[in-house]
Amino acid sequence: MARSFKILTAGDVKAGDRIPPLAVDVTATTVVLGALASRDWRPMHHDRDFAKNQGVRDIFLNTPNQAAWFERYLSDWAGPLGRLGRMRFKMRTSVCPGDTMVIEGVVKAVETDAVGCCWAEIDVGLTVTGEAATTCAVRIALPANERDNPWLRRGGEWKP
């Protein structure tokens, strides 16, 4: 028997809803652990001297690890039945050790597609001292009700 978990259904969500922010104090460990966890060996993500010689203020979070932070943020909100369909990132500035990054999201729309899958469209932003570092437009499937499970959708029933 699976332990109980949070279920957020499409009916619980509406356009304009704000997802509680997540604030993280970024350290060198955050950046290096994130780079190695995503198998990104490039020196700008672990070698401070190299990064500074490239004109960057410090080592910085790589994009795959930022994606992992966004996924964590959204699954904290949606629970395990939420299934990511699509994410589009725009990177503006780097996130470095010593920064406090704040991830926030707002629901732009909730809709049901032609095959009955419920989707929330969410704008997620990562800011440092109020400045946008990365923006991400997300499309995430949510269960229509407590008996629905978007993870069971396959083939033509899944149109991310």
Partner: protein, 171 residues
């Protein structure tokens, strides 16, 4: 003012074609999934609790955002004499278009069948487009879009990673 080289015919012929196919160097492994979750303190029970994974996804899965992780080459491997690059088409374009600098301006991920421990993935890189010359605050160059499509060992689509790149010369 920087004057850009014309797009070589060879490169024009690449548009819409799959240029690189690659296979993961190892089967998807759960320890890497835990390392990724730990790096962002992701406590989703789907990724940590076997019974939840069995109930929701019929077994363990990898976080969808790890898609590009599985095709990244090892930092070193015995007998390898040249560095392997994770987005090879991008580096070929930089060289052939003579654009020494480049950034990834945007990145889009879409997700299909879940990736599971034990899977082996295949990826194909396709050049979708190259722009006319553009000048912005970075310099003068061209945008290009590369799609990397991923499939599992059963041939099922597991996701696509699209990169909007800007290769340029500083003005």
């Amino acid at each position: 003012m920087v004057t850009l080289r014309e797009i070589p015919d060879e490169v024009r012929g690449w548009i819409g074609k799959t240029l690189v196919e690659d296979t993961s160097e190892f089967a998807i492994e759960q320890s890497y999934i835990f390392t990724s979750c730990a790096s962002v303190e992701n406590g989703n029970p789907l990724l940590w609790d076997a019974e939840t994974a069995a109930a929701v996804t019929a077994g363990w899965i990898a976080p969808p955002t790890m898609l590009s992780v599985w095709l990244r080459p090892h930092h070193w491997a015995p007998g390898r004499t040249e560095e392997r690059l994770p987005l090879e088409v991008h580096f070929r374009l930089k060289k052939l278009l003579d654009l020494p600098e480049a950034i990834i301006a945007a990145n889009e991920l879409s997700f299909g069948e879940p990736v599971r421990p034990g899977d082996t993935l295949r990826a194909r890189q396709t050049l979708r487009s190259i722009s006319e010359p553009k000048t912005n605050k970075l310099g003068t160059g061209r945008f290009w879009v590369i799609d990397v499509e991923y499939f599992n060992q059963r041939g099922e689509w597991v996701g696509t990673d699209s990169y909007d790149c800007f290769g340029y010369r500083r003005d």
